[in-house]
């Protein structure tokens, strides 16, 4: 049932398992790094690549060597893609810690369970990530509708009583379009020059409300008295808050209630 049409993407085979999407000893010139980094899904993916490139089993990684290579990439990365660097830097710090701990002599008097291999957590994460990566490939290779097969349909017989199609009010359509324009504007972040005071003010009001109640429905932020202008200002304020990562919109299903939540520490 698994369609291996995508198999050719797996360019390297390590100990029997297809592993990486990149040629094995790919040399990455610094100016191409930005492009290459798009091929990695984050620090774990990069690390996994570096390890697999040496045809090594994860458990036998030479932490010192891998750390050296990893730090090399990070140094380049930091200069070019500072926005991405944070996640990679955390990994760098972790590697350095592991390396330094490995270099220090083991304290003699510690109990067995305290002297755990500092690499254990890293290896656990790498294995877990690798599993997700492979699962994603398998999922993508599975036949799916539209790409690998089509639903067979025939025209329904013509009849007046047959279906009552959903009705759409013109105002819904106009609203959908104006929201779309807004969203398009907000996603092209660099075009934004200044914010209207009223929007900023409303943003603060929304945040204040969110402090009192950890969750608000979209409709709670709109009031009839303010009319259309108020709706637009609230709407812009919410979009702006979302864009700045200060709150999140959550909707369970299309057409259902939309909730606004603060973006909190939990993630």
């Amino acid at each position: 049932m698994i369609n291996n049409a995508q198999g050719e993407l797996r360019l390297a085979v390590v100990e029997g398992s297809p592993l990486t999407q990149l040629p094995e000893d790919l040399y990455i010139p610094p100016d191409a790094l930005e492009v290459v980094l798009d091929a990695f899904e984050g620090p774990l993916d990069l690390l996994l690549y570096l390890i697999r490139r040496q045809n090594l089993d994860i458990i036998r990684i030479d932490v010192a060597e891998i750390t050296r290579q990893y730090m090399g990439y990070i140094a380049l990365l930091e200069a070019m893609r500072f926005d991405l660097a944070a996640e990679y830097l955390v990994m760098a710090a972790m590697l350095t810690e592991i390396k330094s701990r490995a270099l220090l002599p083991k304290p003699l008097n510690t109990e067995d369970h305290e002297a755990e291999d500092p690499r254990a957590e890293l290896i656990r994460r790498l294995l877990e990530y690798e599993k997700v990566k492979l699962t994603a490939e398998v999922l993508d290779a599975m036949p799916r509708v539209d790409r690998d097969f089509q639903i067979a349909v025939a025209k329904q017989p013509d009849s007046d009583e047959r279906t009552i199609p959903p009705q759409v009010d013109l105002s819904e359509l106009v609203l959908a379009f104006s929201e779309l324009l807004e969203r398009a504007r907000l996603s092209s972040a660099h075009q934004i020059t200044w914010e209207a005071l009223s929007t900023r003010q409303r943003m603060s009001e929304v945040l204040t409300k969110l402090k009192e109640q950890s969750e608000l429905t979209l409709s709670e932020l709109f009031s009839v008295e303010e009319g259309r202008a108020g709706v637009v200002v609230s709407f812009l304020a919410i979009l702006e808050l979302v864009r700045e990562g200060l709150c999140a919109l959550v909707q369970a299903a299309p057409g259902s209630q939309i909730y606004i939540r603060p973006v909190s520490e939990n993630v």
């Binding site: 025939a154 329904q156 047959r162 009552i164 959908a176 324009l181 969203r183 929007t199």
Partner: protein, 189 residues
């Protein structure tokens, strides 16, 4: 290719499409391979129609070409399936329709660029089936993507005499943001 293969391919293609399929489109199925003649196609279609004679779906020829259609005598049964209250279109469907109405003729890729997510084939099919949108041509860029536009039925259903009567969506965005929108139009076009 054997007659058997030709029939199989036509059968599959006819069932994967709700819109009638013309002889021209049937020839397109074969891409760079040896394309069957119209005579061969018609012969296969006749044989296929025969296969379905005794079934509850029939191969019929209509203005735009050929399509499979469910027998009229099943209407009373099918009517039992429909809910009395009409459903609602998803937000994605509405946004897609809005994009087509305001920016027509527009390609699916252009809609995707503004919406930021892929437009499901299902959405296009739903709107086509509703009779609100149609393919009006193909954009002369690589891949020749279909250009979508709204229909007269769309205008009728929304009580509009012409597209000019569509309310100005920009009006919904009030004073302070107006200059931003102006900037956007400059960017947008």
């Amino acid at each position: 290719m054997s007659d058997f293969d030709l029939k199989r391919i036509l059968e599959g293609a006819l069932f994967s499409n709700l819109a009638p399929m013309s002889i021209y489109q049937m020839k397109k199925l074969f891409g760079n391979q040896k394309v069957p003649t119209e005579g061969m196609l018609r012969e296969a279609l006749t044989s296929l129609a025969d296969d379905y004679k005794a079934r509850s779906i029939h191969l019929v020829e209509v203005a735009g070409g050929f399509r499979f259609q469910v027998s009229q005598d099943l209407i009373p049964y099918l009517a039992n399936l429909t809910d009395d209250k009409p459903g609602k279109y998803s937000r994605a469907t509405l946004e897609t329709l809005a994009m087509i109405a305001y920016r027509q003729p527009v390609t699916r890729g252009e809609i995707e660029a503004v919406r930021g997510v892929a437009v499901n084939t299902q959405i296009i099919r739903t709107l086509e089936e509703r009779g609100w949108i149609t393919v009006v041509g193909h954009k002369e860029v690589p891949g020749r993507p279909a250009l979508l536009a709204t229909t007269t039925e769309f205008l009728n259903d929304f009580g509009l005499k012409s597209l000019e009567e569509l309310p100005n969506a920009e009006d919904l965005i009030v004073a302070p943001t107006e200059d931003l929108l102006d900037q956007m139009n400059v960017h947008g076009e």
